[in-house]
Structures are given as structure tokens and as C-alpha cells.
């Protein structure tokens, strides 16, 4: 068994430098690599290109990196409820490339799976397709979208083992599995890091071959963006 265990978050982020391209899992604040983000803030690396579906909220998640002006470019599908993101984007301080969510997921997966590009119908006829190659298959138009190229991928799982195998929980899964192995180095943080043999080989969402480093996150705040409830 090839051991991927790393003891500290700072070791896990070894090699991260200015102007790198990073992938970060999560949907809103759900399933984000909280410990890796906190460490990126601490490191103060700048000029980052971040591939992540959202940019968190103003004071949590990737929003922390935006506030800190560490991000040069965001590649996302949704601005949503982050006012600072929208402000920096509209003012031109931040370079933003907005992509359809399925395209974003599949450009990650293409990188993971060794595909150079994919054809998707999403965005055809819109400004998202401007300057991109389009093509007719069976009378329907598709846009050619290329695999992402990233230096680091930071993902968050529920449980993991020392071989790097990962299991996600609920909708905290989202983009995380698709980003594993999609960058030169994939760093997984987990809520619970188990010895090998503890996970059922039949129930592993992402095999350890896609993960270079794994560590147990110290704490998880898991902030809820929209707390919606009903009465009993």
C-alpha cells in the first residue's frame, strides 16, 4: 500500500506558490477544503487562478482569499451571494471566467481522465461560446471545451484512509471527486483519517491513485448558507 498520509496542513500545501492555478472543491460553502483555504490565507500566496464552482461568501470559504486580494482570476459558474466577488468582478479588479456548471465539472473530469477536450451543448449560442470552436453532431450544436490544467487540487472528503481512498458525504461530494487527479498534485483533507483496511473496497468513491497527499482537517466549521427549516 502506498501511503499518502501527511501530518500537518502546512506540509500538505508544500510547493504552493504565487501565480499557480488551483482547483478547489465545494458547492457554496458545502464540502469546501476549509483547512487548505485557511492555510492559503496564512501563506499569503498571490496571483492565484482558482477553479471552483463558487467563491464562498464574503467572510468564509474562497471569499477569504478574495478579501485578501490573493486571487487574480476566478473560474466559476456562480457568483451568487458573494458581494465582494461581484464588486471586484464588475470593477475589473478580478478577472472572472464564468462557465456552465456542467462544463466546469467536465473540464475537471477530462483532466482527471486524460481527455484533451469535450463537446458539450451547454453555452452554445451564448457569450460563453464566443471564440470557441463549435460543431454539429446529428443536427445539434456543441462547444469544444478543453481540459483544465492546474497545479494543485484541494478537495475535502468525509472519510479517507492512508492509501488516499476517499468517501464523501451527502451533497458535500459535488465537484470534489471530479477534481481528484485533475491537477499535478491532489491534496485531500478529510474529517476522519483511517488506517488502511478500514474502508470497504466496494464503497470507495475515489481510489487513492488520484490523491497524492491526505491529511485530517483540524476542525470543520461547515457554515450553512441558507438555513431553511420546517415546523414539526
Amino acid at each position: 500500500m502506498i501511503n499518502k498520509k501527511i501530518d500537518t496542513v502546512s506540509q500538505a500545501l508544500h510547493g504552493v506558490a504565487n501565480n499557480m492555478t488551483l482547483m478547489l472543491g465545494g458547492f457554496g460553502l458545502c464540502g469546501i477544503p476549509e483547512n487548505a483555504i485557511a492555510e492559503l490565507v496564512k501563506l499569503g500566496v498571490k496571483g492565484l487562478t482558482c477553479i471552483s464552482n463558487n467563491a464562498g461568501v464574503d467572510d468564509f470559504g474562497l471569499g477569504l482569499l478574495l478579501q485578501n486580494r490573493q486571487v487574480k482570476k476566478m473560474i466559476s459558474s456562480y457568483v451568487g451571494e458573494n458581494d465582494e466577488f461581484e464588486r471586484q468582478m464588475l470593477s475589473g479588479e478580478l478577472d472572472v471566467e464564468l462557465l456552465p456548471q456542467g462544463t466546469l465539472a467536465e473540464r475537471c473530469r477530462a483532466a482527471q481522465a486524460g481527455f484533451p477536450a469535450i463537446y458539450t451543448p451547454a453555452g452554445y449560442g451564448t457569450e460563453v461560446a464566443e471564440g470557441k470552436e463549435t460543431r454539429d453532431f446529428d443536427g445539434k450544436m456543441y462547444v469544444l471545451e478543453h481540459a483544465f490544467k492546474a497545479d494543485f487540487s484541494f478537495v475535502k472528503a468525509w472519510k479517507g484512509d492512508e492509501a488516499g481512498n476517499l468517501i464523501f458525504k451527502g451533497t458535500a461530494r459535488n465537484f470534489n471527486p471530479n477534481m481528484c487527479g485533475a491537477a499535478k498534485i491532489t491534496v485531500a483533507e478529510v474529517e476522519e483519517l483511517l488506517p488502511v483496511g478500514a474502508l470497504d473496497p466496494n464503497q470507495i468513491h475515489i481510489p487513492g491513485i488520484f490523491v497524492q497527499r491526505i491529511f485530517e482537517g483540524k476542525t470543520y466549521e461547515k457554515r450553512i448558507e441558507q438555513r431553511t427549516v420546517r415546523q414539526k
Binding site: 456562480y78 451568487g80 456552465p100 451547454a122 451527502g170 438555513r227 420546517r230
Partner: protein, 218 residues
């Protein structure tokens, strides 16, 4: 004239037995409340869940279980969780039978704009571009006019598009309309709303053929 709940109620009648349905943020989310109880329907949310149930009982919220609107949710028996890639496989592969989403503008040829007002507001397209490019059955839920009273059913969209030639049906506070290759065909009027009111509120080409019945909501 309908309120948002009324629009949701009318759209709920379009949901058929055996449908997998994706609901957008806003009015579409309300549709789930009004679907007939005697048919089997499953709700998909593109962030990675199939078989969504109601909001959780207070105190039982789980930060790891949300919908695409980032709201805490529950799941029903038979539900499943999956990654974003598989989620959009369901959408792109036409396994989701019905997509209901909001819009800022719709044009008479079925174009839709709902993600950006240049220089002013950028929400992002989220999963909407994938949904409208893939779904065979798309219903738009929206108010007929904007806050300034201007029509949102246009000859041509003025805002950046989300998708082209994709919207099939529109349910507004005033009417139910079908997008045909000749323009917006008026199918139903909201209770108490005249055809003339709808004509005046529709900038795009409106087709009125014969008597237009009033919507039945229940």
C-alpha cells in the same frame, strides 16, 4: 393575476407521473409544494442529489445536505447522492424529464436570458446553461413584466443569452404561453386577466387563436 405561489401552482399541473424534475432557484422551488400527491415524481438538484424531500425539521439541518440554492434539505427513501459530473450526465443525457427555471427575458423563438445584466449584475449561469441546452422539456416561471412594467416576453432578448431556441412553455402571473416557431402562442389566461392585458404586456409576437380559457389552478 397570479402571485408567485399561483405561478408555482399552475406549473405543478405540468408535472406528470414518473417525471424526474429539476427545479431552479426562486418560483420553481415552490412548485414542489403543489405537485399532486397521487403521482410519483423525484426532484433532482444539480449539486448532486436525487430524491429531495422537504426542508428539515428545525434542529435537524445538516450542512452537508443542501440543494443548488444552498438551502438545507432532506432526502426521501430511494434518494441518492452523486458527484457534479454524474449530476450533469443526468441533465445532458436527457434523463431529467422536466426543467423549471426562472428568467429575466424570453424571446419569441425560445431564447432565454437569466444570468447577467452587463455592468450591473452578474449572478452567473450556474447549471442553467447546461439545463436549457439539454432538456427537451423546459418551462420558464416568471413575472410577465419587470419592475418598470416592461415586457419580459420579447421579440429578441436584450440581455446576454443563457440558451437559444430552448424554452417550450412559459407560465407568468398573466398567462400560460407556448413557444412556437411563429411566436408566443397564448394557451391560458390567469384568473381575471383579459387577452388585451396580456397583449399589452407582451412585446414579442403573440398568437391568439379562438377563445382563450382561464387557468384552472386546483
Amino acid at each position: 393575476m397570479l402571485d408567485k405561489t399561483g405561478i408555482a401552482k399552475r406549473i405543478a399541473k405540468e408535472v406528470q407521473d414518473g417525471y424526474y424534475v429539476n427545479l431552479g432557484i426562486g418560483i420553481p422551488t415552490l412548485v414542489a409544494n403543489f405537485v399532486r400527491k397521487d403521482i410519483d415524481v423525484e426532484f433532482q438538484s444539480e449539486n448532486g442529489v436525487l430524491g429531495m424531500g422537504p426542508f428539515p425539521i428545525e434542529g435537524e439541518e445538516d450542512a452537508d445536505i443542501i440543494n443548488a440554492g444552498k438551502q438545507t434539505i432532506t432526502t426521501l427513501d430511494g434518494a441518492s447522492f452523486f458527484d457534479s459530473s454524474l449530476s450533469f450526465s443526468m441533465i445532458r443525457g436527457k434523463h431529467v424529464n422536466l426543467t423549471i427555471l426562472g428568467a429575466m427575458e424570453v424571446s419569441e423563438n425560445g431564447d432565454i436570458a437569466n444570468w447577467k445584466i452587463p455592468g450591473k449584475m452578474i449572478k452567473g449561469m450556474g447549471g442553467a446553461m447546461d439545463l436549457v441546452a439539454s432538456a427537451d422539456n423546459i418551462i420558464v416561471a416568471m413575472m410577465h413584466t419587470n419592475k418598470r412594467g416592461e415586457s419580459k416576453l420579447l421579440k429578441r432578448c436584450s440581455l446576454p443569452l443563457t440558451g437559444v431556441n430552448c424554452v417550450k412553455k412559459i407560465v407568468t402571473n398573466l398567462a400560460v404561453l407556448q413557444v412556437t416557431n411563429k411566436g408566443f402562442k397564448l394557451l391560458e389566461r390567469a384568473p381575471g386577466v383579459s387577452v388585451n392585458t396580456i397583449k399589452n404586456a407582451t412585446e414579442g409576437h403573440l398568437i391568439v387563436e379562438g377563445d382563450i380559457p382561464e387557468m384552472v389552478l386546483e
